[in-house]
């Protein structure tokens, strides 16, 4: 490092001496912008061919000594670069035109950068500007509703927790259903360092979103690369899309010092209406009478009848007990500067968010520095260093469904007395328990670039990225039953190292043929070391680590796992006059995770583009600025999640027999699988990029068809082999096809004082299972509601999407006995549950699918489906957003929205509640209730009045009798429409006028305010239709997504 600083110093000295030696003509002038005619500070003014330069001051003035025949180059971000001949003048005024189009922007495809205009890949670029200052720990939340083809769903609002992020549909299928493996995630490439969330997830102790380690305000651009043209170069890791994140670099010009801070609050969520006190008592008694008749009052529990008992005559609102309004604050500080020779940027960040649930919160401290140094005209180095620390307070548990102790149906009746001591305990419980989730991440990147010949560049890049995650937990004896203190410390150190050698050649053949050719070699090695230490029986409650534990209470394990990937790849780009475009890539990956006989995988892609608007015959159509057709086809893949998937390891940690450690093969992973290989994904993409009316309207349309085949599947094995299952490539294939549409418009003329830009995007994805293992036999899976364990059935069937819910159809409630079907052969009434419950009025109408005059949720012999039918699809078909930004003079206003359409969800919160109330009078009495009259339970007297017309929403709920699990989610009773439209954020900004900031001696100053999660419009009765897990379940136990409001100021010096 000191070396780098020395070089910086030398370089400055050199610049000064050059200036002294060659002073000839002194030129001064002012640079203004064409948009508002005001001077622009910080514009880089360079002598062409000489690389010397200065920057304009706060008044847009510059002063430079040049040869009298020099050409000056004026450049500034957001403006078109302009060249002016000096011609002996000493005073030059320059007006820079605003650059309207992003088409000259550069995108990174694999290992080379191309003009966005000439790329043949489907890439969406999000500028850091679009998401800056959003009060969120991680940028993925901020992308919601902004990118076509990307589905981001926040099923938990807990600060710093990872939510879902899938690109172009889901392809993950597992019969062992859990939220972590529910959806496929893309590969993230952060400043050239590939990061796999699923690999990191294998060794996670904290459940913290590692992407939250990136300060949102450090991000220059985020590219979401979707088709094979862009992702095949990532080979065996690119199947689920690639997200390339580039952090900010300095712009040429004088050093910029930036200070930015915002602060605000996450608001206590609105509580659900709950009946308390006498209202609850009256409601419950009336309800029981209404459902069961007057006679049912006889057996009421004391809690309900004894309204004078001080233990039972309270009106406690349990919901309110745990929530609070949390504070958020964030500070960013950065210094950036660049000359022709050195480009540096340092930034510091502190982010602190308190959760709306007591005991939860998230803190980030981060540091990042990027330095590029041109050592000689041919040789340059790039050094990026970053560090982040994430401290997450998980509250009561790391598991998203255990954070809220009174979630779902666990809310007790308001009758219970709640003393101040109890309240203290609820709030202080978290203080007594020490539960620290910490993620420390370092990245060191060094790149050496050597220009061997003009056009021939050699790059060596190396990076190392250690990340440490640890969960330190201790709970004193007072919190445990039996009262014994315990502590544990689980920690993982995951080090990912990466080396690239890239040789690229760019040339022009003749005047019109552009060729770019690149070969690369890459090696990546991921090593994880873990330590788990658990101590039971800590001798004193003040010891919050593992010390002093008796030998019998101590367990410790360490582990080491490593995976390596060796790759060779080539990329070729050819274009003719930048009009006919052709790209091809080929990558070969050898992975340590593949079986011995299938070490290598090969991933080719080809893509082509045609810029029609450059044709002569289109030139006359002036309103078309750009019309590009492009298409791509290619193959990429997925690696196994497990590092040692092809090996059958022996398990020696299963305990002892007669004092000898038990050693058996791991019967759950089968035997050594030499044939294990990658999952190939073939993807076709056809797209149109177009700009109209002088780039005021930008349209991007894509159609894609993506087929993932030979997928991993865990086969159950024949019992007599001893082995129970084995994961292998199988006949399973999944298709995702869809359509993406994105339009950006500048709605008003560029000369207008009011500027209004609009972005509208939507994606339609259709997910389909194309083939299944074992001759396309259906696969059944059960997912247990994370809060209560109630099971929901899923079916995987060829031709249907993944995760289709399998249920008994529910169509209403029987009002009279005569409506109940009778078996014409036996004269018996329709029954439920294997003949145990002859159907009566007030019972749900469940369709007897198999026609045996009995309905139950289990399978019947010879017919796995029984009375179940595929009933609901939790995969959202359409997602998108509608975003508007306005600027007027110094004011700005932005409104971001997102929507999800065509999605089925299950309200298991309601299912759990009803089930609890129905399962006996005591449960009904001791549970908290909303207003029972508004729910729509079947009412016997209403049914008697109007037997044909009365349509109750839910069956009779009689806590005293007739409980046969009817409120379990095995029927469609609790299915709801999961569509929603959400105003995700509103931001307003005000830039202080130049006069004032100049007077203050600063470059600029902007004030802003943000509102997050402003409003949701939905049909579902659940509190928030977005807060649904990937299986379509709303259990009411996850962390609410709070509304946030912040105000901030950003100052540039």
């Amino acid at each position: 490092m000191t070396n780098v600083y020395k070089k910086i110093l030398i370089c400055f000295l050199l610049l000064i001496s050059y200036g002294l030696a060659y002073s000839q003509v002194n030129v001064t002038g002012v640079v203004k912008g064409s948009d508002d005619g005001k001077p622009i500070p910080g514009v880089s003014v360079i002598i062409k061919g000489n690389k010397q330069g200065v920057a304009t001051d706060v008044d847009g003035k510059f002063h430079i000594s040049v040869p009298s025949d020099a050409v000056l180059k004026f450049s500034f971000v957001g403006y078109v670069t302009k060249e002016v001949k000096v011609d002996g003048r000493t005073y030059i005024d320059v007006t820079l035109a605003v650059s309207q189009s992003e088409l000259n922007d550069v995108v990174v495809v694999g290992y080379h950068s191309v003009k966005k205009r000439t790329t043949t890949a489907a890439i969406t670029v999000i500028s850091g500007k679009d998401i800056e200052d959003l009060p969120a720990p991680s940028f993925d939340v901020a992308l919601q509703g902004k990118v076509t083809g990307v589905n981001i769903q926040n099923f938990s609002g807990q600060p710093g927790v990872r939510n879902t992020f899938s690109v172009r549909g889901n392809s993950a299928l597992s019969t062992n259903l859990n939220e972590a493996n529910a959806l496929s995630t893309p590969l993230f490439v952060i400043d050239g360092v590939p990061t796999s969330l699923s690999d990191l997830g294998n060794f996670d102790n904290t459940s913290t979103d590692v992407l939250a380690g990136i300060n949102i305000n450090d991000i220059e651009t985020i590219q979401i690369e979707k088709d094979a043209a862009a992702t095949a170069i990532w080979g065996s890791r690119g199947a689920n899309g690639v997200v390339v994140i580039t952090t900010k670099k300095a712009k040429l010009g004088k050093p910029q010092i930036n200070f930015n801070m915002y602060a605000g609050a996450s608001f206590k969520p609105a509580l659900l209406p709950t009946a308390t006190g006498s209202e609850e008592r009256n409601e419950k008694i009336n309800f029981i009478t209404e459902q069961g008749g007057v006679s049912s009052i006889a057996g009421l529990p004391q809690m309900l009848t004894d309204s004078l008992n001080p233990a039972f005559n309270n009106a406690t609102d349990w919901q309110g007990l745990l929530y609070r309004t949390g504070l958020i604050h964030n500070e960013d500080f950065s210094i950036a500067g660049a000359t022709e020779q050195i480009n540096y940027r340092f930034s510091l960040n502190d982010y602190d968010e308190n959760g709306v649930l007591y005991g939860t919160g998230f803190k980030r401290y981060s540091f990042r520095t990027n330095i590029i140094y041109q050592v000689t005209p041919k040789f340059s180095t790039e050094v990026n260093l970053s560090f982040s620390r994430l401290d997450r307070q998980p509250g009561l548990g790391n598991y998203p469904h255990s954070v809220n102790p009174l979630a779902g149906n666990n809310q007790p009746s308001s009758f219970y007395n709640l003393t101040d001591v109890d309240v203290e305990k609820y709030h202080n419980e978290d203080d007594a328990i020490r539960n620290v989730d910490r993620n420390d991440s370092f990245t060191a990147f060094i790149g050496l670039h050597y220009q061997i010949l003009p056009g021939l560049l050699f790059k060596t890049e190396a990076s190392v990225n250690p990340s440490i995650n640890s969960n330190q937990y201790s709970s004193p004896s007072t919190e445990n039953n039996p009262p014994v203190a315990l502590s544990y410390n689980n920690s993982d150190t995951y080090v990912s190292s990466n080396i690239n050698n890239v040789l690229s050649y760019t040339t022009k053949i003749g005047a019109n043929n552009n060729l770019n050719f690149l070969v690369l070699q890459n090696f990546q090695r991921d090593v994880d070391n873990s330590t788990y230490i658990y101590g039971y029986g800590i001798p004193d409650d003040h010891i919050q680590v593992v010390q002093g534990t008796p030998q019998s209470g101590l367990t410790a394990t360490t582990d080491y796992q490593a995976a390596s990937l060796l790759s060779y790849a080539t990329q070729v780009h050819y274009d003719y006059k930048e009009k006919y475009l052709l790209d091809a890539t080929m990558r070969a990956d050898a992975s340590s995770r593949f079986g011995a006989d299938h070490k290598w995988g090969y991933f080719p892609s080809v893509s082509a583009g045609y810029i029609i608007s450059d044709e002569e015959f289109m030139k006359s159509i002036r309103w078309v600025s750009l019309l590009k057709l492009r298409g791509s086809y290619g193959v990429n893949g997925d690696q196994p999640d497990k590092f040692y998937a092809p090996y059958n390891n022996y398990n020696l940690t299963q305990g002892y027999y007669n004092g000898v450690a038990i050693g058996t093969p791991n019967f759950n992973s089968g035997v050594t699988n030499k044939n294990l290989s990658w999952e190939p994904t073939k993807q076709l993409d056809l797209g149109i990029d177009a700009s109209f009316f002088n780039n005021r309207v930008d349209v991007q349309v894509d159609y894609y068809n993506k087929i993932q085949s030979n997928k991993y599947y865990t086969f159950p094995l024949a019992f007599y082999t001893g082995y129970t299952q084995q994961t292998s490539n199988s006949g399973l294939s999944v298709g995702n096809k869809g359509f993406e549409f994105n339009i950006d418009t500048h709605n008003l003329s560029s000369t207008s004082k009011l500027q209004w830009t609009t972005n509208f995007n939507f994606s339609y994805n259709s997910n389909k299972i194309l083939s299944l293992p074992n001759g396309n036999r259906n696969i059944y899976a059960v997912y247990n509601d994370p809060n209560t364990g109630l099971s929901v059935n899923y079916i995987f069937e060829v031709g249907k999407p993944l995760y289709i819910i399998n249920q008994i159809p529910y169509t209403g409630v029987y009002n009279t006995q005569s409506q109940v079907p009778v078996n014409p052969y036996t004269g018996q009434l329709l029954t439920y549950f294997k003949g145990n419950y002859p159907v009566k009025p007030g019972y749900p109408i469940w369709t007897d699918i198999n026609g045996d005059y009995d309905v139950w949720d289990g399978e019947d012999k010879g017919n796995a489906q029984g009375d179940l039918v595929p009933s609901a699809n939790p995969n959202p078909a359409i997602t998108g957003g509608f975003n508007n930004n306005f600027t007027y003079k110094n004011f700005s206003l932005g409104i971001g929205t997102t929507f999800t359409l065509k999605r089925d969800i299950i309200n298991t919160l309601q299912s759990n509640e009803f089930n609890n109330w129905a399962s006996g009078l005591n449960n009904f009495t001791s549970a908290g209730i909303p207003n029972l009259n508004t729910i729509g339970f079947w009412n016997p007297s209403l049914a008697a009045q109007n037997p044909t017309g009365y349509k109750a929403k839910f069956p009779a709920l009689n806590p005293g009798q007739g409980y046969f699990y009817q409120f379990f989610p095995f029927s469609t009773m609790f299915n709801e429409n999961g569509a929603y439209f959400k105003i995700t954020n509103i931001s307003i900004g005000y830039k202080l006028p130049q006069k004032i900031v100049t007077a203050w001696g600063i470059a600029s100053c902007r004030f802003y305010a943000m509102l997050e999660n402003v409003a949701t419009f939905q049909k579902a009765t659940v509190p928030d239709a977005e807060q649904v897990d990937p299986f379509g379940i709303y259990d009411g136990a996850t962390y609410p997504v709070p509304k946030k409001a912040t105000i901030g100021v950003s100052v540039q010096f």
Binding site: T376, P482, S592, A596, Y650, V671, A718, Q726
Partner: protein, 514 residues
Amino acid sequence: MKTYINKYYILLLLCSLGLIASCKKYINEGPIDSPTNDNFWTTERAAESGLAGAYGLLRTALTNSRAYFVFGDATADEFIFNGNNWTLSDLASDYNFNFAYEPYEEEVNDWTPFYQAISQCNLILSKVPAIPASGFTDDPTTTKNQILGEAYFVRAYCYYYISQVWGQPVIVTQAYTDPINAQPIARSTTAAGFAQAASDLAASIKLLPYGYTNPADVAVQASRGAAFALLAKTYLWQKQYKQASDAADSVIMNGGYTLEAGAMYGNIFKGHDKESIFEINMLYSPNQNEAQNGEYDPTTGQTGVFAQFLAEPFIAGKDPQSIWNVNLDLVNHLFDTTAAGKKKDVRINATFYGLHSDVTQMIKYANVIYQQPAQQTQPFVSNNMVLLRLADTYLVKAEADVNLGNIGDAAINLNMVRTRAGLKPVNIANGKTMLYAIMDERGREFYGEGTWYFDLYRSGLIFDAGYDTAIDGYLPARAGNDNAGFQWPLDLRTLLPQDPLLTQNPYWALASQN
């Protein structure tokens, strides 16, 4: 400066080339956190670990879902299920011992755990002979023979047990290397299952010595005595009574076992007893614990297999509603519980607690150890599960002798057991009556030891109208090898998809149509 850079550049290039060479090694890197198929079977220690694995898997198979006691005792009406044990209530005589509906007790209809133990034995038998002599610290031949002999014994026990519980086993003696492509195998006959057990035991007898050199191994590892004892029982099933009687003789004459004193009856189940021939080690040890939890374990959702019988005062704070209640009708029928003092059967107090209360507990396995003795929390039940013991061999020999017509010899062996229990010797001349007496004696001696149901069913007395202990509910229609109604149904939904040749036991195939 330029040459300086070039030097660096060349150095860098060389480094990166060097790296490529080492990459190859990394690409083929295997795990270091556990052995794999390729490197495990190379040492004596590994072979012993593997053998411990075979015993451990057998232990798991017998204790999962309390299978050993469900199969051997619950089916013989020894216990009454209510409260938390409603999942087993269909096993009661009121429900005609319906084996087909045991919700949440999947293991009783799934023999996979036994096949895992068999698979482990097959691995040992195929891998251990190839371990080089250099891998042994003890004498290679003796150690190999010991390990192989014990593996044969465990495999024999599995086939024996499968044959008596489900019947018609799928017989596998090879170690699978490519299970995903395993060919479907049909079930063999029950007779073939017992024959497999007998042949494995013959191999075991050849390889194993009588007795033990290490006291810690007594009874918890197989010996020649154990192999003969199991062989005697196998011959009984095969109705080869002469061989059964001879095999039992070998145990009695050469095994070195002696009956525990009547006053010390409870010691039999505390581990390594002189009477015990083969038992599953489940003793508590603070550091290498093999004992099961003494209370309901919320993480597994199960109660430890012995704790299932126990409540207060044996396990502090345990709810009496949670246990298997002893069937007092049967106890009163088998035992003279009103007898007092010296005339009383010593087994009554050693087996039951609270006979005159609402909650009668079976207390053969009641050696409770608290990990936190001061607070009486974290209980473990430190008893061994005795599968074969000398009293059993005496009665096996008696049963064989009755069938051979040697009523007098049968009486001698029966009276060995009776005398120890403090009962008067019997003198019976009629063969049938003698068999009834032996079965009653077995009922008293092995109450709660997972065996009486099989004795009743093997001897046919379970539906013998003349035997007044015959348990209500077992209809003769369930009898017969063709019908297999005394054997358990298989969970075909789980097992059939991977073995399309698998068939259901005929009685249950019909019954489940209902």
